[in-house]
């Protein structure tokens, strides 16, 4: 009896004393947490990398961007398939405010912006190499500016969040700021990034944002704001360049999109992808290959038939334009028979598995800069066969096309006045930068969207130049977030 009591009381005593308070203090084993992270320079590097990773979100360059910038325009469309209903609505302008693509776009951009804000806020307290600290700040400010720029062009007025939100309540305090305020912030961020970022990277840092990327984006922002003087000045800096960081057009248009040739001299900023089953691959091959083509076009994984070039697009290429067959195809061979089904060819790396290829997404490249510069010059004043003609023709020459001039026997090659030059730029941008998420924003920026879409056969209203704010955001915070006109 004595023995039993002893045993049990010992067991009980052990039970009571063996369990200290830390028995219930359990931290995650398989995941990092905010308590132990964001402490060192290395942590900050990893946090900056993650902010780049945000560009790969489905609500950013993975899919939303080409849906809102290409499918929306006259460049591409989508055949009606049940699973693509949200995209179809974007295509034919019947989208409602609860369109899931817009919801994804909104959520994924602000998620990325928050990651940039965290770095900006937390890096101050960390003792580390000052140059590196500046560079990290520059990188995330560039990324933040890029994300806001895409958002402001899509939705108009935006809640402007530029600091880390530490608890959910803070999120209810933001209302939509006028586009002017948003653009002011974008410009401020880019100006800072421009000074803090290096012109080039080497080795393992290649692919990070450079001062050139900041300048190019800033030029684009000025152009969008119709501030042609500043735009021209900023873009000129890129054209002048420096010996080490001189951008140039690649000799072959095809080389721009080769996965063996990423981050080339024409490239200013790309969203980087890498295949191999690690979740870092790009989906564009499968997304854009014809739906009924099986693996004939995509090679691995079925084609899904999104972002299909329109007849208008195919017709936009001048005869002899070398870019056409590199950019798109009008069909594919199934055995010995030709199946008519247009698709984009710019991103056709053979995937490791479905939606897992190497193709990067070109965000900014030198040809875009040249055309923007030419446009800015023309807007400052038409000069017959002036420098603007030179930059335009530089792009055309690579495409194997004849120069356009102020007086030309061939009417299609003649640009007689400022208005004609505008249209020439519009046309050149359309084919040079086809399927690179420029078209819709270019049309809106140049006030041409309504007219061009009408030609394309879709009548749209002025309010449709902006997309509706996702209904979910209004439902959550109806006091502060209001819908764009026309969508109520």
């Amino acid at each position: 009896m004595k023995k039993y009591i002893f045993c049990i009381s010992t067991a009980a005593a052990l039970g009571l004393t063996g369990c200290k308070k830390d028995f219930i203090e359990l931290a995650p084993v398989s995941q990092n947490n905010v308590v132990n992270f964001y402490k060192t320079a290395d942590d900050m590097k990893i946090a900056v990398n993650a902010a780049y990773g945000a560009l790969q979100y489905s609500g950013q360059y993975f899919s939303a961007m080409h849906e809102i910038a290409e499918v929306r325009s006259d460049n591409t469309g989508i055949l009606d398939v049940q699973t693509g209903l949200n995209v179809v609505e974007i295509d034919i302008f019947t989208n409602r405010s609860n369109n899931t693509l817009l919801n994804n776009m909104w959520n994924d951009h602000y998620r990325g912006i928050q990651q940039c804000n965290i770095v900006v806020d937390r890096i101050a307290a960390i003792s580390m190499d000052a140059t590196l600290k500046d560079r990290y700040i520059g990188e995330v400010k560039f990324l933040r500016a890029l994300m806001y720029f895409n958002m402001v062009r899509t939705f108009g007025d935006l809640p402007l969040v530029i600091k880390e939100i530490k608890n959910p309540e803070e999120g209810y305090a933001y209302t939509r700021e006028p586009v002017e305020v948003v653009y002011a912030q974008i410009i401020e961020d880019l100006k800072e990034a421009e000074t803090k970022l290096p012109a080039i990277y080497t080795g393992t840092d290649i692919g990070r944002a450079t001062s050139g990327a900041a300048k190019a984006l800033l030029g684009k922002v000025y152009l969008t704001r119709k501030d042609f003087t500043q735009a021209a000045a900023k873009l000129k800096e890129l054209i002048d360049g420096t010996a080490t960081s001189k951008y140039m057009l690649l000799a072959s248009y095809e080389d721009i999109f080769k996965v063996t040739n990423e981050n080339h001299r024409e490239s200013i900023f790309e969203v980087q992808f890498k295949k191999g089953g690690t979740g870092e691959g790009s989906p564009f091959n499968n997304q854009f290959a014809p739906r009924s083509s099986g693996t004939i076009v995509s090679k691995v994984g079925a084609g899904l038939g999104y972002n299909i070039p329109t007849q208008d697009m195919e017709d936009a290429y001048e005869a002899g334009d070398l870019r056409k067959d590199i950019s798109m195809a009008s069909g594919y061979m199934n055995g010995t028979s030709f199946v008519e089904s247009k698709y984009i060819k710019k991103y056709l790396d053979v995937p490791f598995q479905a939606n897992d290829a190497d193709n990067n997404w070109p965000v900014l490249r030198y040809a875009d800069v040249l055309l923007m510069y030419a446009e800015a010059l023309n807007e400052q004043g038409y000069v017959a066969d002036g420098p603007a003609f030179g930059y335009l023709n530089l792009v055309r020459q690579r495409a194997g096309l004849a120069d356009k001039t102020s007086v030309n026997a061939e009417p299609s090659l003649q640009i007689a006045d400022q208005a004609a030059f505008r249209l020439a730029i519009e046309q050149e941008r359309r084919v040079e930068l086809a399927f690179e998420n420029h078209r819709w924003f270019d049309l809106v920026r140049t006030d041409r969207a309504i007219a061009v879409m009408a030609e394309h056969g879709i009548t749209i209203q002025a309010y449709q130049l902006l997309y509706p704010i996702p209904q979910s955001q209004i439902d959550i915070n109806p006091e502060m977030i209001h819908q764009n006109p026309g969508y109520q």
Binding site: Y4, I5, A11, L16, K21, F23, I24, L26, P28, Q31, N32, N33, V34, V35, A47, N49, A50, Y52, G53, A54, D80, V81, Q82, L85, V88, E89, I92, R96, T100, Y110, R111, I113, P159, V161, I165, N167, P168, E170, Y172, Y174, T204, D205, G207, E262, Q272, K274, G277, G279, E280, N286, S292, G294, A302, F352, A354, S472, D475, I476, N477, E479
Partner: protein
């Protein structure tokens, strides 16, 4: 002579000196009870009340109160008659006189000992007057064991006798038609009519309503009559004959306030249990399950119900703790109610062997009325033509003119009449599925050691082809009284289950079989002439890309194997008289592995096969251990009775999982990961821990006034650093009105009890690390060439150091009534439970970088009434009893989120559900259809969308602004029933038994969202047959509910039935289901003895024989979202619940 000693009380006088040291150590504990630690010996006044209590018990009580030993001959005392007493402070001798009045015993007091002896004369007074011919009868229990000590009375006289050790009795010959009344404490009283020359045999049935029955409460037991909390008990016999694979499914319709919904018919899966409504939005609403004292983790899963590892045949009883008084002892896990499952244990006596076998089949009870091939072709052509005409085309235009696939007429449907009926895809995916179950159990033991062992095998196929569930279970339960003071026991339940899970529920695009079958074109056969499968993935012409559901069901592999070992062992030691210490350790080990393979012949991502095969392998391991130390103290002093427990428990769970996936398998032959190229993998490890102190005191005075107080203090790893510990108190009181003197004359009323309780419990069913902001991998690619992957980490969740449990405050008032010898037992409860500090994964403005965050915000109230009534309508040879239970629960959200903004649930479509203040949770949300725009005039004068046209659905302009917009969405229905009820009727006559269980739920709706495909009026695939009655023109408006058929969904995006939820999808799902009918026959002893069996029983049963409902889907209880509270009640190709026919036999040896 065998001498039994009752009144072990005085044993403690001989306490060894060494124990006093330990005694000292326990002083602190005793201080708690100090005021009650009175010397019993100062009392010589006896108080004792009770009806029909056994003599043994009465003597024991007197011994306890007076401090005397009783000596008696055990076998003789069995002849004693039950006594009914009302003693209040009477001297000992008077009390004894009262007790031994009319007994065949007398007594003598010798110092501290009372010797009980048989009366020398008149021990069997009735025998003496007996005529030479006697009636001989035997009395046995349901298991065929003789019942000594049963009282046999001749109705209308005072003549009586008791049965002897072999259960037999003798009684003088009496005239035919004389009625004998047989009674035995704890058993239903029976009346037998004498027939001349016939000996009688009476089978006594246990009485579930007996107030003597013991109720298992957390960390102890209580007699039912002392219970002051709301606790429902379900004995094993109420579960029998139901071929259910898990015990929770068998609870359906049986207990007031407990709603059990079979949300999926998938073998082995899909049961949700709600005790008194749903009090939580995101922290789970499943009750806590405690199996043999072990609170188990029961992660709800639509496809796998963790309770299916327990063989329902091994269950002895189930108690459902409903109110806070009962559940507060489980603290931060108690607020959803607690289900205590007690498994079978051995009983002393001869060894028993039981064999239970049943076999049967299951079938789908109803099908959805779809178009046949001819109707389908007409429908498809109409949708294309209408779409084209709306674009300005002519119906006569041929396909070359029609400029989009959705306007073109499929050439294969050009001659509808030639297609005939085509393929009925529902018929193809459903089957009559066999179910078989075998169980063999052994039990037995002696006074000291008892054992129970069982082995079982269940094999169930699904009603959807190629799904199954098999269970191999074992059980071993041993208990031994090592010495007078020490009892030890162990309980081991290893179970292995294996299942092939059909990918049945959910969106067809992922291959889900049911929606695919509903959408699949009926003009296609299942197989091509060459034997290969057909597919609709590449039909074109605006059809949804659906894969052949027969192919998916047969060829896709999703195989699970699960092992669970639940083991506990305990030692209980009587430290001192009335004070027991119990230590229990237990472990719940669960391992699972899953293997999936999608072969190349199944098309994926909308592309026809061949596709690239995909395989995955997953393994998980949960190891949960528990140590529990309790001190129990039970003491009766005079009229004061104390029953208390003090405890300390510690529990921890470790979870680990590994996952690997592979692709690019060279062929479909080898399906394990090694054959492919590995393309992904992950592993995860998580833990939680819980540290608790608990205490409970039950106090009753004079068996009239009862008071229970409990408190538990829990520290949990799941909560924020600023909120680690919580305290959960409760108090309840009861009053047995019938024990009052003023009720003495009320003979028809056997029992009237009133009880009330109030308490606080918690809910901690949330993620293990929700309070810590987690950082998730978000890598990127940088560097030369194709780049190198660089590590990136980004926040995944918000931190919240204040995160705590949901606080649930519940008030309960109950009344229990027993009348007419407890033939009618009624109970009613009113409760009001308010959950505050609701753990909410609140959608937050996504500008925060997160779309949601878990916080303690919000308040929900559930209040309601529960009524249950049990009646014994007839007794005697033909016995009929009825149990009815009805519950009404009202659910209301009182506060939500930081701003009170509504929460929208998104299932497949955005804002499919809305939870807002003032309403119940998870209401369906969308447009209310008020008709169809009949013509241009109607369109002109009605509120509309910009893209509305004649023939489109007309919605109610909720905000009255003259136009339709998203602001006109409104609440369309609620998944919460107004009323749930169950009715059980039991009949028995001679060897026959019949049981009919009806289960009903009234006043709720289901969101039949699968209709956005097979009921979208756009011809994306096959359709419900009612499209034949579509609106065609003002002059031909159809049946008034089906709008114009039009494939061009995107051109009326505001009001089409594919992307918008409307009241068309919300259906009244009230139902009354004949849940179970069983008919059994117990073979007579004469027959069973021929096969040397102790008992034999044959039965047939039908489960879900019929469901009366207006719901158009397969199962009105459906919820493909399972336990979700923000998106409940959705039918998206839900797995039908089967109608099951079984034939079974029980043999006892």
């Amino acid at each position: 002579m065998q001498i039994n000693v009752i009144g072990r009380a005085l044993h403690r006088m001989g306490l060894p000196a060494s124990q006093t040291v330990f005694y000292m150590k326990l002083t602190a504990i005793f201080l708690l009870f100090g005021c009650l630690q009175l010397s019993a010996r100062t009392y010589s006044q006896i108080s004792l009340s009770g009806k029909g209590i056994s003599l043994e018990k009465a003597l024991s009580e007197i011994g306890r109160q007076s401090g005397h030993f009783f000596f008696y001959k055990y076998n003789e005392l069995r002849d004693a008659q039950p006594v009914t007493l009302k003693l209040r402070n009477v001297p000992l001798p008077k009390a004894l006189d009262e007790i031994f009045r009319n007994q065949p015993f007398t007594y003598a007091i010798d110092n501290n000992t009372i010797v009980v002896v048989k009366k020398e004369t008149g021990t069997r007074p009735v025998e003496e007057a007996a005529p030479p011919v006697e009636v001989i009868g035997t009395i046995i229990d349901e298991k065929g064991n003789p019942m000594p000590g049963a009282t046999i009375r001749v109705k209308g006289t005072t003549r009586a006798t008791v049965s002897d050790a072999s259960g037999t009795f003798r009684i003088p010959e009496l005239p035919d038609g004389t009625v004998l009344v047989i009674s035995y404490t704890g058993y239903v009283m029976q009346e037998v009519i004498l027939k001349s020359g016939k000996n009688i045999s009476v089978v006594m049935k246990e009485d579930d309503n007996s107030l003597k029955s013991v109720v298992v409460v957390g960390y102890g037991t209580q007699e039912r009559k002392d219970v002051t909390g709301a606790i429902a008990t379900l004995p094993a016999k109420k579960l029998k004959d139901q071929p259910v694979t898990s015990v929770d499914a068998a609870l359906a319709g049986q207990i007031a306030g407990v709603q059990v919904a079979q949300t999926s018919g998938s073998p082995g899966g899909g049961v949700t249990v709600r005790v008194r409504g749903s009090g939580s939005l995101s922290a789970g609403n499943e009750p806590l399950y405690v199996i043999d004292g072990f609170p188990v983790s029961n992660d709800y899963n639509q496809l796998n119900n963790p309770l299916n590892t327990l063989n329902p045949n091994d269950i002895e009883s189930i108690q459902v703790l409903k109110d806070a008084s009962a559940t507060a002892i489980y603290g931060s896990r108690g607020s959803n109610g607690v289900v205590i499952i007690t498994t079978k244990s051995g009983k002393s006596g001869a060894a028993r062997i039981n064999l239970d076998v049943y076999t049967g089949y299951q079938e789908v009870a109803r099908k959805i009325d779809l178009l046949d091939a001819e109707g389908f072709a007409n429908y498809i052509n109409e949708t294309r033509n209408n779409a084209w005409v709306d674009r300005g085309g002519l119906i006569t235009d041929d396909n070359t003119v029609r400029n989009n696939v959705i306007y073109r007429l499929p050439p294969f449907l050009s001659d509808p009449a030639s297609l005939g009926k085509g393929t009925d895809w529902q018929e193809e995916i459903f089957q009559k599925a066999p179910i078989r179950n075998y169980q063999l159990s052994f039990s037995g033991g002696n006074e000291k050691t008892k054992y129970y062992m069982s082995a079982g095998y269940l094999d169930q196929d699904g009603v959807v082809i190629n799904g199954d569930f098999k269970r191999y279970n074992f059980k071993l339960n041993v208990e031994s009284q090592l010495s007078d003071r020490i009892k030890v026991g162990a309980n081991l339940t290893p179970t292995y289950t294996t299942s092939n899970v059909s990918d049945a529920e959910g969106h067809w695009s992922g291959g889900a079989v049911i929606l695919s079958a509903l959408l699949m074109s009926p003009h296609l056969p299942v197989y091509n002439p060459d034997g290969s499968y057909t597919t609709a993935l590449n039909l074109g012409y605006g059809f949804s890309s659906v894969e052949n559901p027969v192919k998916t069901a047969k060829e896709k592999v999703n195989n699970w194997g699960r092992f669970r070992l639940l083991g506990t062992s305990f030692a209980e030691i009587e430290l001192l008289k009335d004070l027991k210490f119990k230590a229990m350790v237990g472990t719940d080990i669960r391992t699972a592995r899953q293997r999936t393979f999608i072969p190349s012949i199944i098309g994926r991502d909308g592309a026809p096969p061949p596709s690239i095969p995909l395989g995955t392998a997953t393994s998980t391991e949960n190891v949960n251990w528990l140590s529990e130390f309790t001190l129990a103290y039970k003491k009766s002093v005079g009229k004061h009775n104390v029953n208390s427990v003090l405890g300390y428990t510690i529990q921890k769970e470790n979870f680990e999982s590994n996952f690997v996936s592979a692709t690019n398998f060279p062929n479909d032959l080898v399906q394990t990961i090694n054959a492919g190229i590995i393309n992904g993998g992950s592993s995860d490890r998580q833990q939680w821990s819980l540290l608790s102190y608990l205490a409970r005191v039950n106090y009753s005075y004079d068996r009239k006034y009862m008071l229970t107080a409990t408190v538990r203090r829990d520290g949990s790893s799941r909560f924020g650093s600023d909120n680690k510990w919580g305290t959960f108190p409760s108090v309840s009181a009861g009053w047995r009105v019938t024990e009052e003197n003023f009720m003495m004359g009320v003979n028809w009323l056997d029992d009237l009890r009133l009880r009330a309780s109030y308490g606080i419990t918690g809910n901690n069913f949330i993620g293990n690390y929700d309070h810590i902001g987690l950082i998730a991998n978000q890598n990127y690619v940088l560097g030369t060439g194709n780049g190198t992957i660089v590590n990136g980490l980004a926040p995944g969740t918000f931190s919240n150091s204040n995160l705590g449990w949901e606080v649930n405050k519940q008030f309960d008032f109950g009344i229990e009534l027993g009348i007419l010898n407890n033939r009618v037992v009624f109970s009613a409860d009113y409760y009001n439970k308010v959950t505050s500090k609701l753990l909410l994964n609140v959608p937050v403005p996504s500008i925060t970088g997160f779309t949601s965050a878990t916080q303690n915000i919000g308040k929900i109230r559930n209040n309601g009434i529960e009524l249950s009534l049990s009646t014994k309508n007839t007794v005697g040879a033909f016995r009929w009893s009825t149990d009815v239970n009805v519950s009404f629960n009202r659910n209301k959200v009182l506060a939500l989120g930081p701003e009170g903004s509504p929460i929208f649930g998104n299932y497949q479509l955005n804002a499919s559900h809305k939870t807002e203040i003032g309403q119940s949770m998870g209401n369906y949300y969308g447009y209310e259809v008020i008709g169809i725009y009949q013509d241009e005039d109607d369109l002109a004068k009605s509120a509309k969308f910009a893209d509305s046209r004649s023939g489109h659905l007309k919605f109610r302009d909720v905000n009255g602004d003259g136009v339709l917009s998203t602001d006109d969405r409104t609440i369309l229905g609620s998944p919460f029933p107004d009323m749930t009820y169950g009715i059980t009727n039991n009949f028995s006559y001679k060897g026959f038994e019949m049981n009919i269980l009806l289960q009903g739920v009234a006043g709720y709706e289901v969101l039949n969202l699968g209709r956005r495909f097979h009921g979208n009026y756009a011809g994306t695939g096959n359709s419900i047959a009612e499209v034949k009655d579509a609106w065609r023109s003002a002059g031909n408006p159809g049946n008034g509910t089906v709008p114009r058929l039009n494939r061009d969904l995107a051109r009326y995006s505001s009001s089409n039935s594919s992307a918008n939820i409307s009241s068309l999808f919300v259906e009244d799902a009230s139902f009354l289901r004949i849940r179970n009918i069983s008919l059994g026959y117990n073979f007579s002893e004469k027959l069973t003895s021929k096969i040397s069996a102790r008992s034999a029983r044959l039965y047939v049963s039908v489960q879900n024989a019929h469901t009366f409902t207006n719901y158009t889907g397969y199962n009105p209880e459906v919820s493909v979202t399972g336990a979700s509270t923000l998106t409940p009640g959705v039918d998206y190709g839900g797995y039908p619940v089967a109608r099951t026919f079984t034939l079974g036999i029980n043999l006892g040896f």
